[in-house]
Symmetry: C2
Subunit: 309 residues, 2 copies
């Protein structure tokens, strides 16, 4: 089981070492300078090998911003027109020339449209959702948070898929039976607050085996999801309360505000990747610095290896 970012980066390095070649990242819009910084570092650490998809001249110009020694080793997958970038990136995955996708300089909507294309995309039938992995600031373990990136106001069955995607990431990190807290503002069911009723339904679906390979409990307020003392004070009997691995937020705002506050108020970098397609799709936020992007690359490598394993 991986407990922290150091172990995550180690694990990504080991995967590449065992396979005797680096995991290949197809970068849609390879001339993105912020992405190149993180990719150069990932290559240097032998975590991943970038394949830069885009217009040759633009990419070559951007490559001059990083050390020549590293840029020499990067592969360019040239396209003539900008609108070929996303489809070509998909083709690299389908033809097994790359194992994971990273968004470079391309609009998220355009990249996701290609990912979801029924003929040429990477659809699995599963919802696409973003999963954040952050070091617990007080314990040597990870917390997973979803979905602050893709789904605006997920309904019941979309929440189930958001959970399934997060559970896959937890499994990839070696958490055999992740504990999933379905969060609301309170731990009691309130018929006027759909985040509490959805959480109760989802918990019972888990009890009936309709959501497998994890332990789910909800509704839980943040304090009783994360603190054993807080859960005990409220008299909550639960295998999840106080020790949750995965925190499922009821809507995109609560996940986004929560995760970003960890970065901007508590200085915790976030690793994250989109799940639900055939391979992890890394869509960095502008809020992610180079270190956070590197951690997201390591996460994608570990998840990609788990999905293929």
């Amino acid at each position: 089981m991986l407990h922290n970012y150091e172990e995550l980066v180690d694990a990504a390095q080991k995967i590449s070492k065992n396979q005797k070649r680096l995991i290949r990242v197809a970068v849609a819009g390879g001339h993105d300078q912020a992405a190149l910084q993180a990719l150069a570092r990932a290559q240097e650490l032998e975590i991943a090998q970038p394949i830069l998809v885009g217009q040759q001249e633009q990419i070559e110009a951007s490559l001059q911003t990083i050390s020549a020694n590293l840029s020499d080793k990067m592969t360019i997958e040239p396209v003539v027109h900008e609108n070929e970038i996303a489809p070509r990136t998909m083709r690299l995955i389908r033809e097994r020339q790359a194992e994971t996708v990273m968004k470079g300089k391309i609009k998220t909507a355009i990249l996701l449209k290609s990912v979801l294309d029924k003929v040429s995309g990477l659809r699995t039938g599963q919802l696409i959702s973003d999963v954040v992995v952050v070091e617990h600031p007080k314990e040597n373990r990870f917390l997973l948070i979803s979905d602050g990136g893709v789904n605006i106001a997920p309904d019941l069955m979309q929440k189930v898929q958001i959970i399934e995607n997060a559970v896959l990431v937890a499994h990839a990190l070696g958490i055999a039976v992740p504990k999933v807290a379905v969060l609301s503002a309170i731990e009691l069911v309130n018929p006027h607050l759909s985040s509490t009723t959805d959480a109760a339904i989802i918990t019972q679906m888990n009890h009936r085996g309709q959501i497998a390979n994890c332990l789910i409990d909800g509704p839980l307020a943040f304090d009783n999801a994360i603190s054993i003392e807080a859960a005990q004070e409220k008299g909550i009997q639960s295998p999840v309360a106080g020790i949750a691995d995965i925190l499922i937020c009821p809507n995109i705002e609560s996940a986004s505000i929560f995760a970003k506050s960890l970065t901007f108020l508590a200085d915790l970098p976030l690793a994250h990747t989109c799940m639900g397609a055939k391979v992890p799709v890394l869509i960095p936020s502008r809020a992610d610095n180079a270190h956070a992007k590197l951690l997201s690359l390591a996460l994608s490598v570990v998840v990609s290896n788990y999905l293929n394993g």
Copy 2:
């Protein structure tokens, strides 16, 4: 202007000193041991004087849990039946025998029902909402967060009142023109995400003078509300972005998860009080420890003094 909890406690002490008597807190259900711990400390620091409303025997039994020296100085307002506690607490305020209300051992719903009673309550016509005041972990100033306590899914006009209540608290803290960020997951208007459209409307209402004595901007994502660099990277021109004093969350879950994560992951105690009634109504959460309750008492004193001033 008050910048941190130390200054807040100092200010509460000075208010009591200037008035030559302590601000009186009517405690509904005065036999609550957790509340008594904080009240004893508030009395010791000369921040506030408790008036314990409840059944005499129960209160006397609870008072034995705190130091005799302090408990001697506490006033008991005895009632015969439990259901008299909330109405009697309201009467103490109406008859100017107390300046602020604190919830002790009584159900929140019962206390709020008395507060909102049209004849005997403390109604002002304004919505009741909870305002959190927390020290910015990286700057010497306060951040205000609302509403994680009372309103489940506020509509547009309820959000306006939530802002007005938070602005009053900011004024009480000496922030003359508070900067208000209306948060969503993104900073662009998305017609499918009502938190962004509400935020845009509220911003324009502020421009038209319909919400006064503050500067409002939204929608803002958390990062561009709190970080000047993040706001600049997105090219946001705004007098609020990056330097917001007040963070208005779009729903109860996002405010609750955000505020509680600050306590449970970043060890930041939260002061908070409900606004919208004639006096501040302090409803401590079970997640608040004695120190947080003391800070909430100091906040209530400062706000009460401002409302009367």
